[in-house]
């Protein structure tokens, strides 16, 4: 099935760029272009070796490992509460979301449940880190297509969200706030109203960016019909999150398989999909996702129950033997932790299923036949964080 789709894709590209194909027939020397690891486009240390014919990519091979920190190994020698500090650093743009699935997996093994208030706050913070992350991704896409202004808007409005996260967790980048059985602290006074204001700012940002960037003809020309991922190919590569919803797959872990301990079912929201599967549809779904995120946060803020934020857990946490896999819908896609415990202080084995690793693994297939400028926009629309690939 791959072969057929690949030919289809090539044919599509050849039709679509027929005007620029004139020079393809002229024999030119092949060229190998090395994008990265120090390259402004690959935000981080991803390196892409692209074999070019003129400006057309014949083969592209991502090379990574420049930031591999071996968290799976390190987690084996940390106690469970300590692991949250590590996993914070996986997707450093939306850190809190990294903690949630691991904590939920540990709670699942321990058969305990956080109090309702903690569950609400957890969900709110999870969504806020999604907003903080995805806003940056949208602004970054502007840089990838050559517009410098959107990223400054993104940083400006991301600040409102980060301020709120900082106000409750004490950390802007690495909150380290989730605990097995609840949360570290309760909300500070006035936080709810401030957060609602921040969400209002984020919605303004969405409107602004929709006009400035998404409505721009050049942006559409650069992203529409570029980097098309058919749904079945995307699924077999394990793409998740926005990248698969941009291909028309209506699947969201938050709605379809919310893990025990998050209260997405208490809010009224919508899973957005886009049938095209191209760069534009991914970015479009991403923007809608931010809007839905602000809605979820607003609704959950309205009905946070009162009560404790911490369940009764032993001081020294020993997790009973067993295996558990918990995945949540993280900003970059589905993130899951497969935790194997042998009843010790520290996990026996933690398999981190990070979203970007799978999302980027499609690039050798996706980048075949595109032009050099499209490499950049396609990577930008896949939106990955290097820490989430390398772990």
């Amino acid at each position: 099935m791959t072969a057929v789709s690949e030919t289809e894709q090539l044919r599509y590209i050849s039709q679509q760029a027929a005007d620029a194909r004139v020079n393809v027939e002229i024999e030119t020397e092949g060229m190998t272009l090395n994008l990265g690891p120090q390259h402004p486009a690959t935000h981080g240390t991803l390196r892409i070796i692209a074999k070019l014919d003129g400006e057309q990519v014949v083969a592209a091979e991502p090379v990574m490992g420049y930031m591999h920190r071996g968290y799976e190994k390190l987690a084996e020698v940390r106690t469970y509460p300590q692991v949250t500090t590590l996993v914070n650093r996986i997707d450093w743009v939306g850190s809190f979301a990294n903690e949630t699935p691991f904590i939920l997996a540990a709670e699942k093994l321990m058969e305990i449940e956080a109090p309702p208030r903690a569950q609400y706050i957890r969900t709110i913070l999870h969504e806020m880190s999604r907003i903080a992350n995805v806003i940056l991704g949208i602004g970054d896409m502007g840089v990838q297509v050559g517009a410098v202004t959107p990223i400054f808007f993104a940083f400006r409005d991301r600040e409102y969200v980060l301020n709120q996260i900082e106000a409750v967790t004490g950390g802007r980048f690495h909150p380290n706030f989730d605990r097995i059985g609840g949360l570290k602290d309760d909300l500070p006074a006035g936080w709810i109203q401030n957060t609602k204001n921040a969400m209002e700012k984020v919605r303004e940002f969405c409107d602004q960016i929709e006009e400035l960037m998404y409505g721009n003809e050049i942006f559409q020309a650069r992203t529409r019909g570029i980097g098309i991922i058919p749904a079945d190919i995307g699924l077999s590569y394990g793409l998740s999150g926005v990248n698969i919803r941009g291909s028309g797959v209506d699947w969201d872990v938050r709605r379809d398989a919310t893990p025990h301990g998050l209260v997405y079912d208490k809010a009224d929201w919508k899973v957005w999909t886009h049938p095209d599967g191209d760069s534009y549809s991914r970015m479009w779904v991403r923007l809608q996702e931010v809007r839905e995120g602000t809605k979820i946060v607003d609704q959950l803020l309205d009905d946070i129950p009162s009560g404790p934020i911490m369940a009764k857990v032993p001081r020294i946490i020993k997790v009973p033997a067993g295996e558990a896999y918990v995945e949540t819908e993280n900003p970059l896609g589905v993130m899951g932790y497969y935790v194997i415990s042998k009843g010790d202080l520290n996990p026996f084995r933690v398999k981190i299923r990070s979203a970007s690793f799978n999302n980027v693994s499609i690039t050798p297939w996706l980048l075949k036949g595109v032009y050099v400028p499209d490499i950049i926009t396609i990577l930008g629309s896949l939106y990955f964080i290097l820490g989430d690939i390398d772990r």
């Binding site: 004139v22 027939e25 030119t28 020397e29």
Partner: protein
């Protein structure tokens, strides 16, 4: 008169001997650079360097044209040769063999043939030049004043026919008679701004070229245009061949 205007009026008088000297010096320098570059163009083993030396030669030609006062031809030289042809050269070279450093294959063994062709060309062109300009003489000194009198001038604010403006000069003359008026009269007759009115004072080669192309040589000009169009279509057909 302001300082700027003073300077500007001085700029117009390109007749002083100082300017002649400057022109000669400039010619000498340009010619020397051109000769050196032309020599290096054929001797360098680096293809890109050869193309860049050719740029200097062609730029020198353009400079000489401008030095001779025919800025239109000079500008055309820059536009066509430097702006288009050489850039295409470089484009092709860099796309196909963008190799830094010397290229051995450029060292051709057919130098004898090249020298022969060069000498042959020199003889033919030298003969043509001598044949054409054998009896021509260069005249030095003031060129003959060319007087151009508009049919209408402004006296006060009223447009007045020339004949009425200077009755003493034109009195009793018929329509076809030639008159000679002094520079002072001319200046007083035609104020400075009047002389810059579009079309009123174009003696330059610009107008002559345009006139000759679109009257005398209109048929060859159009023929060349059709030829270029045919070449363009041919190129597209060749490139589009599936």
């Amino acid at each position: 008169m302001t300082l700027l205007a003073q300077v500007a009026s001085d700029f117009n008088e390109l007749t002083s001997s100082e300017v002649d000297i400057a022109q000669n010096i400039a010619f000498g320098m340009i010619a020397a650079v051109m000769l050196f570059s032309a020599f290096r163009t054929v001797t360098t083993a680096n293809v890109v360097h050869a193309a860049l030396y050719l740029v200097i030669v062609l730029a020198g030609v353009a400079a000489l044209f401008i030095l001779l006062g025919s800025d239109f031809v000079g500008a055309t030289q820059v536009l066509v040769y430097i702006g288009a042809i050489i850039v295409l050269f470089l484009f092709g070279i860099m796309l196909t063999k963008a190799r830094l450093g010397d290229d051995e294959s450029v060292e051709s063994e057919r130098r004898g043939m090249g020298a022969l062709v060069g000498i042959l060309l020199l003889v033919v062109m030298g003969y043509a030049l001598v044949d054409t300009f054998e009896n021509a003489e260069l005249t030095f000194g003031e060129p003959e004043p060319i007087a151009y009198v508009p049919t209408e001038v402004t006296v006060g604010d009223v447009p007045t026919p020339v004949l009425e403006a200077l009755p003493d000069v034109f009195a009793g003359l018929g329509d076809d008679d030639e008159v000679t008026i002094s520079q002072a009269d001319f200046d007083s007759l035609v104020p400075e701004v009047q002389r810059r009115v579009p079309g009123a004072e174009v003696f330059g080669n610009n107008k002559q070229i345009a006139d000759s192309i679109f009257s005398q040589y209109i048929v060859p000009f159009e023929a060349v245009s059709v030829l270029l169009l045919a070449a363009l279509i041919g190129a597209i057909v060749v490139a589009r061949k599936e």
